[in-house]
């Protein structure tokens, strides 16, 4: 149900931007979903459907697009992906990353040099890629 909180945040953002830009109509919004946060797309879609009721977003096309996350070691430069890194993590650690993606730094290390100093490249959380409006 944490997805509900994320959906609320996204909807508030779209409505704020549309208002700021003086939109007559919000035609489409593209939402990127980083794989690091392991968002349940079905739950998120349901939350959007419920939350847009009686808002200017009721007829807006909301497109959800996943974005793969990669990690890059700041020490040796190696890049690796999330599924390789987290397949061995248990439920509790995965859940921690689901709530606060940056906590991944407590649980994984560079597969080549073992450093904890790595960067999350793209695909961290949820963000609005763009909004298409008419004026």
């Amino acid at each position: 149900m944490h997805e509900w909180a994320l959906a609320e945040a996204v909807i508030s953002t779209i409505l704020n931007v549309a208002k700021e830009k003086g939109a007559k109509k919000i035609i489409k919004a593209e939402i990127k979903i980083g794989t690091l946060q392991q968002i349940e797309v079905d739950v998120l879609t349901f939350a959007f459907r419920e939350l847009v009721k009686n808002t200017p977003l009721e007829k807006t096309e909301i497109k959800l697009k996943p974005e793969e996350v990669y990690f890059k070691c700041r020490v040796c430069g190696v890049r690796w992906n999330f599924s390789n890194a987290t397949s061995a993590l248990g439920r509790e650690k995965s859940e921690a990353i689901h709530f606060i993606p940056d906590l991944v730094h407590a649980f994984i290390r560079c597969p080549r040099c073992g450093s904890p100093d790595f960067e999350v490249v793209g695909g961290r959380g949820i963000w609005v890629e763009y909004i298409k409006i008419s004026k």
Binding site: A5, L6, T13
Partner: protein, 252 residues
């Protein structure tokens, strides 16, 4: 001829920022316990103040913002407590305090975060935590003037700052820098607390006078505090807690 409607693609800011005010809307006052220096007693003061306010029948939230060295959970004793999920994250009540910390999720693991990662983790925490109706949200900030303090200023606009120092010129040098920063950004300062006083000195009072901020009084060094951790009842019976009560009267 009908009016021509033009379509535009526009960028949007970080969605988490749009929901933070909503999450904090039922929080009446936000007190942020800060100090430039580490080891001056911020966590103990933040936790004890939370317990005192709870004892007085106020609803209190406590947020441990020290990602690298959280310690409020040790002082409070949070064994077995975990947040619950309900369209967001609801902090568990520990001794009557709604307590939130990353420690629930990382336990004793080191959390090596760099600046922007700290900022991201803090923003996420604020965006998902549902405090509900709270009279006081006490925030225990880490030492320094890094991401956490700057983000509190940026994201929690109603914050009031409680500066903690020891009566040492070493601590006061750094605390002076922090005081200058807070004054520069026009952040409301509740005052400065002189913690761990062993001998009579006017250093902290003079500091307060110099910067035109309130001197909230001393907290005498208490040798018995260590044995009160995870035992709020015992903690509230200490001389330390008595001094924090006197300070609380001046800031409420």
């Amino acid at each position: 001829m009908g009016r021509v409607h033009k379509n535009f693609k526009v960028r949007a800011p970080d969605p988490r920022l749009a929901i933070i005010d909503e999450r904090l809307k039922d929080v009446k006052r936000i007190f942020v316990v800060v100090s430039g220096k580490g080891g001056v007693g911020k966590s103990l003061i933040a936790t004890t103040l939370s317990l005192i306010l709870t004892k007085r029948g106020r609803s209190v939230g406590l947020l441990d913002l020290d990602f690298h060295g959280p310690s409020c959970h040790i002082i409070l004793g949070t064994k077995g407590a975990m947040p619950t999920e309900e369209k967001g994250i609801i902090p568990p009540e520990v001794h009557g305090i709604k307590f939130m910390s990353v420690v629930y999720y990382v336990g004793d693991e080191p959390l090596p975060l760099r600046g922007t990662e700290i900022s991201d983790a803090f923003t996420e925490l604020l965006a998902i935590t549902k405090w509900g109706r709270v009279d006081y949200l006490i925030v225990d900030a880490p030492p320094g003037m890094g991401e956490e303090v700057l983000d509190v200023i940026r994201l929690m606009e109603r914050s009031e700052f409680l500066i903690v120092t020891t009566p040492s010129s070493l601590a006061l040098k750094t605390v002076s820098r922090l005081t200058r920063l807070l004054l520069e950004v026009r952040a409301p300062i509740l005052g400065v607390v002189e913690n761990m006083r062993i001998t009579e000195t006017k250093l902290v009072e003079e500091h307060a006078k110099k910067f035109g901020i309130k001197y909230l009084g001393p907290i005498l060094f208490d040798y018995n505090l260590e044995e009160c951790f995870s035992n709020p009842k015992k903690l509230l019976g200490t001389k330390f807690a008595r001094n924090v009560r006197d300070i609380a009267k001046k800031i409420l």
